[in-house]
Amino acid sequence: MFAFAGLLGILIALGGSVALVWHGTRRQAEPSSLKGAARFVLIGGGVAFLALEAALLANDFTLEYVANHHSRDTPFPFNLATGWAALEGSIVLWGLVLAVFTWGVLRRYLREPSRLGAGAMAVMGAVGIFFFGLQLTVADPFRICVDAVANGCVASSPFPWAAAIAPPNGPGPNPLLQNHILMAVHPPMLYLGYVGLTVPFAYAISALALGQPGTDWLRLSRRSSLLAWTFLSMGIVLGAWWAYEVLSWGGYWAWDPVENASFMPWLIATAFLHSSLVQLRRQALQSWNFVLVITAFALTILGTFLTRSGTVASVHSFTQSAIGPVLLGFLFLVLVGSLTLFAARVPMLDRAARLETLVSREGGFLLNNLLLCVYAFVVVAGTLYPIVLEAVTGARVSVGEPFFNRLAVPLSFGLLLAMGVGPLLPWRQADPVAVADRLRLPVGIALFTGLIAAVTISRLGYVVLAVVIGTYVIAVAVTNLVERSAKSSAIRGEPLFAGVRRQLTSEPSFWAGQLSHCGVALTVIGLALAANLGLQTDVTMAPGDTVDFGGYELTYRSPFLFTEPNRRVQGATIAVADRAGNPVTELAPRANYFGADTSGITTPAVHSTWKGDLYLTLLNIDGEGILLRLNTSPGIWLLWMGGLTVGAGGIWSLSARRRTREPSLVA
């Protein structure tokens, strides 16, 4: 029953996508037919997703997807999350998100009908054809199980009327995905980001195809770009947080190919957000923006391809499937098609606006783009290089943290420096002396803070540098706000606080951006502290043993073992006390055994304070004692807070724009 509903939904969505392409590419597009088509896509995508979730909730093991990825014992939010835990389900989620964004594009079109908008809907439809087509062929979640064993399905049929044999139970989702609630949240966020980038891409292609460059396409898609970027940022941060809580210390970022897959489009999307401001304001950088948005979209497809095709070895790798070649083919078509279209349209692009001087807001944005694009290039090169080298010469190399860190650190510092100066530069031309004047206070604050940090926290070069530059960025934003508010308050004769409020509400987009900049600064400081000042050691402890570590006294009390419906949990209780012996907390690092697994998935135990985290991982537990890995992560809360702040900036900007309903340009 669910299979019928699901497949019907997919067919409806597919039909709607075809209708979108058909109607969107006609000379005289009728809003009503586009609306109908978009409605079909939305309904179809929704029905497919709901059918899958309903099948999971109802424990319908006649579906192969449910039989192989779900278990009766999986507790509540994780059984829902199983809907996107494996390949086919995640494509269904992608389809639903795409349908929702298509609806959003439709709403915009209805408010302001244009051939551009209709063309954008056609492109969304074309992408929809691909993704819903995937769901009917290679990544079909509604296949019926026709041969089953005790806990899984061994053969399936794509026809919903096939004679079903349902296994009594299934293995449940991958144990790593059942350990933490963040797992349920991270993929949808990430998909909102990925799929959201389809919208500016669609507008861009529409503009190129119709021969209507200019700023319209940018203006119409700006909100979606911002939304996509915000969710992508949050998705990456949440993913890092989840990896930290679940996988291992330092697992928050390991330059793993799958992690890079989400980082590459983020970098380009950030560059795009900034350079589109230049185009909106000065009508410059038109062709560059086209290239950026095509690259961003292509990178989301590349990212999906790398994650799902089994081409790279990764701790995040999903199993191989036939989807690899199909995704590669789609990526190939997208790149070749859009780049060729762009190349053809190049003569048409308006090159009127010349930028005067590097020392200006425009120059700042260009510097930002340069650094971000080189950064993205580094990540792409490092991720793809092993594959390319092996295909060409057969040699095997690994490219890991040392490579990325060596290049990413200077680039990040460069970006932070630019972030500090850029907002202070006026458009067109800046007076270097005046800008330098305004920089004095923030630089002073930063150096002073750096000195304090060097004396109290650590004298390590990287740490001090990160504190100085990060504080500088925050100080620039804050002093900028205060100075401007003070100026306008003095003029109006009102208290400073009112002036601040006025500043913030009159230019919310700008200040939201500054908030995100502060978030990035916090993230860098947190990273520098945790990565450089963290301690690690492995200890063997028998019950009753005590060790001193990281300013704490850790005593191994006793082991424990208990069973939950979907797993067996074995662990050790560790009493944590401070140096004086006062009890602080009790931690319970553990190993979880799911189903028939005989190896444990470790869940670390983390004690978080403002000073940093104490992080315990249970490596081994047996009759004699435990082998425990002890880590400290000083200041890591800055990393999470910084990441969330970045997202908060995006959300602020989105909500502010809704109120003003106008594409707000930067002051």
């Binding site: 195809a209 021969g211 291992s248 697992g251 330059w255 793993d256 070895a313 990764s314 701790v315 083919g329 190939f332 070749v336 098609g337 060729t340 279209l341 053809a344 349209r345 003569p347 048409m348 090159r351 009127a352 010349r354 930028l355 590097l358 260009l366 510097l367 340069l370 694009c373 080189v374 290039f377 090169a381 490092g382 290089y385 080298l389 295909a391 010469t393 040699a395 095997r396 190399v397 690994s398 490219v399 890991g400 943290e401 490579f403 004095r440 630089v443 002073g444 150096l447 002073f448 000195l451 060097a454 004298r459 390590l460 001090v464 690690q536 492995d538 470790t602 991982t617 490596l619 081994n620």
Partner: protein, 339 residues
């Protein structure tokens, strides 16, 4: 605008602050170098998909870190320790691709990109004003794409698809993927392996009835080599395991010969061969063996000669055996004693 003196004054203060920070950092005692950590962060854990051995909680990684520490204590240099690990696992274990050879490009590429990017940015600001046309003077471009572009794009896409399809096929036959089939493999030629291998295969699959054929082949080998003891054991097992008629006949014939040749028991030998002949009456080799026993064991040259001639009249006889039969026939018919 602050006065110039205030301005210079404030910059001086900033400069002093910067110097102070720099001094504090530079005079910091060097951090206790954990050589093991430094080495460990460069080596990839082979079973962990990308984690460094210093980070991974897996047992392999921990063992490798212990090895690194032990080697440090023994006084080896960093490079020697890494080389030791690379000898076992290969260059792909390095997380930091070396800046030479094939991976030199990887380190150079970002610098090249930075250079290209900077050039692109610089051009925006330094291009002479004369080379920009006011928008009005640009020739109007038609909104529909010219045929040329569409065809060009189509060619590119098609060519790419063809390239992908053909090269992909070509590359997929990788030598690493070959595998030898198991016992039931169709390509297996028993003559190509040694006795020991057959012995092992047969012993490992002793509970599988299908192994009978192979066991028989092994037994025959031992028989031909004269290793009657081993042959005997295998023939017995063959007969115990529901042999097919031709297998049993094969075993009986040779058992009979061995009983005579090894223990001198002619009657028992003939009896065994007869049991085989009941199953497969025209087994030429069995008849020949019987003839030999009758001739050499019982001294009856005439019966032997009859048997020998009946053997010669059957088809499909091995050339070597044929010669022997002819020789023996000649001798037996002449009434000589057995040779």
């Amino acid at each position: 605008m602050p006065s110039p003196s205030r301005r210079t004054g404030s910059w001086l203060v900033l400069a002093l602050l910067a110097v102070a920070v720099a001094m504090v950092v530079v005079t910091a005692p060097p951090p206790a170098e954990d050589r093991a950590q430094a080495i460990g962060s460069q080596v990839r854990c082979p079973v962990c998909q990308g984690e460094a051995i210093v980070d991974s909680p897996s047992e392999t990684a921990r063992n490798m870190m212990d090895l690194v520490r032990a080697r440090i204590d023994e006084g080896l240099t960093d490079q020697q320790i890494i080389d030791e690990l690379l000898t076992s696992y290969g260059g792909s274990l390095l997380l930091n691709p070396p800046a030479r050879g094939a991976t030199l490009w990887l380190w150079l590429a970002p610098l090249v990109a930075l250079g290209v990017g900077t050039a692109m940015v610089a051009r925006r600001f330094h291009a002479a004003p004369a080379d920009h046309l006011p928008a009005a003077a640009a020739p109007p471009v038609s909104p529909t794409l010219s045929r040329r572009w569409i065809w060009g794009a189509a060619v590119l896409v098609l060519g790419g698809a063809v390239a992908v399809a053909t090269v992909g096929q070509f590359q997929q036959a990788r030598p690493e993927d070959q595998s030898l089939s198991g016992v039931a493999g169709e390509d297996f030629d028993p003559d190509s392996v040694s006795n020991e291998t057959l012995e092992a295969v047969v012993a490992a699959n002793a509970d599988n009835a299908a192994i009978n054929g192979m066991r028989l082949a092994l037994a025959n080998r031992y028989f031909e080599e004269g290793n009657y003891q081993k042959a005997f054991g295998h023939y017995e097992i063959v007969l115990d395991n529901q042999p097919a008629p031709n297998e049993a006949a094969n075993a009986f014939a040779r058992l009979g010969w061995m009983v005579f040749d090894g223990n001198g028991e002619a009657d028992l030998g003939i009896e065994l061969i007869d049991r085989g002949l009941e199953l497969v009456p025209n087994d030429a080799f069995a008849i020949y063996l019987k003839g030999r026993i009758i001739w050499c064991g019982q001294g009856d040259a005439d019966t032997a000669a009859d048997l020998f001639s009946s053997v010669l009249s059957s088809t499909g006889l091995d050339a070597e055996i044929q010669d022997r039969v002819e020789t023996d026939l000649a001798a037996a018919a002449a009434g000589e004693d057995c040779q």
